[in-house]
Assembly symmetry: C2
Homo-oligomer: 270 residues x 2
């Protein structure tokens, strides 16, 4: 039996360079589908191409308009293939209108000098943190086991927009690039946390850098990721968010799997 994420991100070819996806009710959000699963669908569609070079390195998706329930078409184009990397351009089209655009850089992982300067937050183990349930109108959240160390959705207004959580797919699923792309968008809007209330907000542009190698993803398996995100500035109708996603092996060094950034539109709470 396939995992619900695999069902949600599956596509069928419809033309040269065009594949068709269908929104999955399990990943519905307040308006349109959860952006993370849209991103995951694009990453998976590119990774599945026979002419792809390597793995995802940098990925940007712009959410220009909500996707309506139903089918949508992903137009993929290889812009340039270099010796070690490959540049992609994509559009998501629904009812003859472009609802999303973006770019992806895929490439090879080559052994080089390495160093991780970022530090994961200091947290209790996932087993010691209670999973939380999101309200039913945030359907997609039911596909994640989310355990907030700080900045949970029900914690009330906070002076600090940081959320830190343990997260993994529910049911468990071995981590891969599409799943990581989706989890990169799994932080609820930071404006909710600052005000302790819901207010209209939506991601405009999301960029994720994939640091993880295939071996690191395989080593991670189905464990919880440690994920933390914070806004730098809110104002004039927008805020940004920076996040880091970590693998935290019991018997080794933390591995920074991805860094992720977004710009979000918001309205003031009423």
């Amino acid at each position: 039996m396939s995992h619900v994420l695999d069902e949600a991100i599956s596509v069928v070819p419809v033309a040269d360079g065009v594949v068709r996806a269908t929104t999955h009710p399990a990943y519905a959000n307040m308006v349109g589908p959860f952006g993370g699963v849209t991103a995951a669908t694009v990453v998976q569609a590119i990774a599945s191409r026979p002419d792809v070079l390597g793995e995802p390195l940098a990925f940007t998706i712009n959410y220009a308009a909500p996707i309506a329930d139903g089918q949508w078409d992903l137009h993929l184009a290889i812009v340039r293939t270099n010796r070690t990397n490959q540049h992609w351009l994509f559009r998501i089209v629904q009812n003859a209108a472009t609802v999303s655009t973006g770019t992806a850089v895929f490439g090879l992982h080559r052994p080089t000098w390495s160093s991780t300067e970022a530090q994961p937050p200091v947290v209790p183990p996932a087993a010691d943190v209670e999973p939380v349930d999101f309200p039913e109108f945030i359907a997609w959240a039911a596909n994640y086991d989310m355990r907030f160390v700080v900045g949970g959705l029900a914690d009330g207004a906070s002076e600090d927009s940081t959320s830190t959580m343990w997260i993994r797919d529910l049911p468990e699923r071995p981590l891969d690039y599409p799943a990581l792309a989706s989890i990169a968008d799994s932080f609820y809007p930071r404006i909710f946390l600052r005000h302790g209330t819901f207010t209209p907000a939506g991601t405009i542009s999301l960029t994720t850098y994939f640091h993880a190698t295939p071996d690191e993803l395989a080593a991670h398996g189905t464990d919880h990721l440690l994920a933390t995100a914070r806004a730098a500035r809110f104002g004039n109708g927008h805020f940004d968010q920076d996040g880091t996603l970590w693998s935290m092996p019991d018997d080794g060094e933390p591995v920074l799997l991805a860094t992720t950034h977004q710009l979000v539109y918001f309205k003031d709470p009423q």
Copy 2:
């Protein structure tokens, strides 16, 4: 007399949705032109369009191949115009090949609740820090007054990839969005700092979020910006970089003008 930055980013229309730029020797880099001035050219070209909505909010440019000295064509397309924002897709074409792609979101600034959580680094005033000269083969750097508080190019190998500097255009020029887009790419590669030496490295993908309003840019004027950047993870041929650009008025609160992120390709030093 026009400023050299204005000369470098100027374009002429050549077809519907296509403008032509010409590389400027003053902004040459080791291989091709300085990426910051390429980004600034795109921001300026979009901002100059009569059908533009608002100001730049989110901007991503992918450097797929070096731009050769000479002319290049910028293909601009409005993908969608919403009530408060507008999505752009662009390609840079030279000698019939795409050398760069990207997306931009422009939009309106609306008065809302505001809060800045990020903090600028604590530094001495610009007047108390010595400007540095870059080597001649990094021509573009001569167009900036850069004063490193930490992480200067000649400081030798460091365990920490942070550079913090005061920076402004040289000669002085009132700050605007194109200038800010260029300064967002003005941090030399973090790998140089970690090893205390030059090594092949180049930005693959750059994303900048513009937080500044037009009024904040006008208030900043020709002062130095406070700019700081750091890598999170180096490895497998790539590293990322996160930066913040601040206006530091003598008589007011710091203003976070922009946050900027990039993924960079590198080879090990020999």
